[in-house]
């Protein structure tokens, strides 16, 4: 297990990088290293067939910018707006010698392509008796906060986490984004890689060299003994902020960022709850059949006798993501809600 998501274990030179740049570096270096890595999706370069500039977008959030000029349109492929065909092509190519990185511009578009993911790519290996490999990455932007409305703001990690055969990765900072993307590309299974759209400009120190972070190993951005806070993706930001506020009051929180929700480092969570006896799970997803209830269920089942207070979950409500800023802000869990939950489990 790692100690701190932001403590670079990797040697050598580091640079301050944004989440977006860290992802770009990871993909670029893997493409240089392995000629079978390709990128495909809608406007992963942009401007195809147009009179103006090539590489006009580099993905709608700029994550794949500059890859097409270096690797060409044969390896950085702008597709028609056809999500089912994009994901299907990635899955089929993965079974036949390539390592595709397919982009769903907004992960909400998974709906259009879902059969190719959950009935096809996810099940190949099991259905075919372990004889096939599907080394593909499906990248998508997730989450609320951009006032982008109900069909461009879903997070949906719980939907894909439910499906055996898929690995689900949700980095909360640039350091993890790079290392997890490298692992995702090198992994032999279909990986759903979810990038929170409010985090693209978030910076931290990132090693220049290429490194892979193994899946299923949590990070511990804050350590403490009073309460365990498990948070994922952008919720880690709020969990850390809450922990820092509480530390000034003498309350120490063990903040756990699972980094990958499938596989999940449940051992790390259980070990922490053994010490703290108290658990708060913070998740931007909807509450029913979600990651928060899943983690609460694991701890209730396997760590019940460690618990000194009922488990609390902090999630979005059971609604679609609203458009109006006031409603969206009320929808997404925030620092105040995390603080209230922590005080609640402490009986404070």
């Amino acid at each position: 297990m790692t100690t701190n998501s932001n403590d670079a274990k990797i040697g050598g030179k580091t640079s301050i990088k944004a989440y977006r740049e860290a992802l770009n570096d990871a993909i670029r270096e893997e493409m240089r290293r392995d000629p079978t890595v390709i990128v495909l999706g809608e406007e992963v370069s942009g401007g195809a067939g147009c009179d103006g500039q090539d590489d006009a977008y580099g993905g709608v959030f700029g994550v794949t910018k500059g890859l097409m000029p270096e690797f060409g349109r044969e390896r950085v492929i702008d597709t028609p707006i056809s999500e089912a065909a994009i994901i299907g092509a990635a899955a089929g190519a993965a079974n036949n010698g390539l390592r595709p990185i397919a982009e769903l511009m907004f992960f909400d578009f998974i709906g259009v392509s879902f059969d190719q993911i959950f009935n096809q790519a996810a099940k190949f290996r099991y259905m075919f008796g372990g004889k096939s490999k599907t080394p593909m990455v499906i990248r998508g932007t997730v989450g609320a906060g951009w006032r982008a409305g109900a069909q461009h703001s879903s997070i949906l990690h719980s939907v894909v986490t439910h499906i055996p055969g898929l690995k689900v990765v949700m980095p909360s900072n640039a350091y993890d984004a790079k290392g997890l993307m490298v692992q995702a590309i090198r992994d032999e299974d279909p990986v759903i890689f979810l990038e929170h759209k409010v985090m693209y400009n978030n910076e931290c120190e990132v090693p220049d060299e290429q490194y892979a972070i193994p899946f299923g190993e949590a990070a511990f951005p804050r350590q403490g003994k009073d309460v365990t806070i498990v948070a994922i993706s952008n919720m880690v930001t709020h969990a850390i902020a809450a922990a820092d506020i509480l530390a000034k009051e003498g309350i120490t929180c063990d903040v756990i960022d699972p980094r990958t929700v499938s596989p999940l480092d449940d051992e790390a969570i259980l070990e922490s709850v053994e010490v703290t006896g108290r658990l708060v799970v913070v998740d931007e997803g909807n509450p029913r059949c979600g990651l928060a209830s899943d983690i609460a269920g694991i701890v209730a089942e396997k760590g019940f006798f460690s618990l000194r207070a009922p488990i609390r979950t902090v999630t979005a409500p059971h609604t679609p993501v609203p458009f109006a800023p006031e409603l969206e802000d009320a929808y997404v869990p925030n620092v105040d809600k995390v603080l209230a939950a922590v005080r609640d489990v402490l009986g404070a």
Binding site: G49, G52, I81, G149, Q151, P322, A324, L327
Partner: protein, 323 residues
């Protein structure tokens, strides 16, 4: 004169309202008064109005992410629309939908749609309801050249033919699927030819020419009302703004939009035609322009003054019909 004066005035007013609404949306978005992602349809007004001007509130349209024009053409209240895109509680969707989900079911406007290709299957459903209930209503889906390549769209086209649904598939071909050339994403030379391959009549029109577009859609709509099934209409047009407001549009050629505004502006083309034919006077249209500027000015002022939603009551409501 082949068109009634009242019809021409309504057409002009509707097109001009869309233009003014979109241009103000761009201004208000850049000024920070409109949050989120907004896709403006200025330049494409003629198609929206030609398609909707003869429809009743019981005829249904399904729109795209670029849906403001379709809303206005279908008779949605511009004040309610402006409040909606500003995220106010008195907006058409109580501020819950925003620009990409703007809808007015009472006006037969089934909604803008933020999923490319999300609309055509739903519009098939509206057409199926009309056919099954024997209402003689029709349903129109607006599609882009981009959504033509979605499986959902192609499935809907095939099913509309199989079930002989009163569904007119309108393709606004503005040359760009977001920031990719339409002819890059289309594997064959002609979308119209491909659509004809589904087994429905398929027309190609100049969407900058209101009259050509109107005439073609009128035939298709009548055929659908008479039980003759679906039609595809591909209308060439120009998108004056970016894919979204704020799009730097690096993929577009130099002076492309500037030139298009001069020679391919559907409003200018309409005005030139009706003046040349002696159907309407410039002064009459100029007076309408002034009224519309004032109307949209008021919509913006009312929007900015409108109440914001209250999370304590509005966040959890409307998920289900009954709890």
């Amino acid at each position: 004169m082949p068109y009634q004066e009242d019809f021409l005035l309504r057409a002009y007013r509707s097109m001009r309202t869309i233009r003014e609404f979109e241009e103000r949306c761009i201004k208000e978005f850049m000024g920070g008064n409109i949050p989120g992602f907004v896709h403006a349809s200025n330049g494409q007004e003629a198609i929206a109005v030609a398609a909707c001007i003869d429809l009743s509130d019981s005829d249904i349209i399904g729109s795209t992410h670029r849906g403001h024009g379709h809303c206005i053409a279908k008779g949605c209240d511009v004040g309610g629309m402006m409040k909606e895109v500003m995220g106010r509680s008195t907006g058409l969707c109580k501020g819950k939908g925003g620009s990409m989900h703007i809808a007015d079911i009472d006006k037969g406007m089934l909604g803008a749609n933020a999923i490319v290709g999300g609309g055509p299957p739903l519009v098939n459903g509206a057409a199926l309801a009309a056919k099954t209930l024997g209402t003689k209503n029709v349903a129109l889906s607006f599609n882009g050249d981009g959504s033509a390549n979605q499986g959902t769209t192609m499935e809907a086209m095939n099913m509309a033919v199989v079930l002989q649904l009163p569904h007119i598939f309108i393709y606004e071909n503005n040359g760009y699927a977001e920031g990719t050339a339409a002819n890059y994403g289309l594997g064959c030379d002609s979308l119209t030819d491909r659509n004809a391959g589904f087994g429905m009549p398929a027309e190609y029109v100049d969407g900058n020419d209101f009259f050509a577009t109107y005439d073609a859609i009128k035939v298709a709509t009548q055929r659908a009302r008479d039980g003759g099934g679906p039609t595809s209409i591909e209308a060439k047009c120009v998108r004056f703004d970016g894919h979204f407001i704020g799009d730097p549009q690096l993929y577009r050629g130099e002076d492309e939009v500037k030139n298009a505004r001069k020679t391919e502006d559907c409003l200018k083309i309409f005005r030139a035609r009706v003046i040349k034919e002696g159907w309407l006077k410039a002064a009459t249209m100029n007076a309408i322009d002034k009224e519309i500027v004032a109307e949209i000015e008021k919509a913006v002022a009312d929007g900015l003054a409108a109440p914001r939603p209250d999370p304590s009551t509005d966040l959890l409501s409307d998920v289900y019909s009954s709890y």
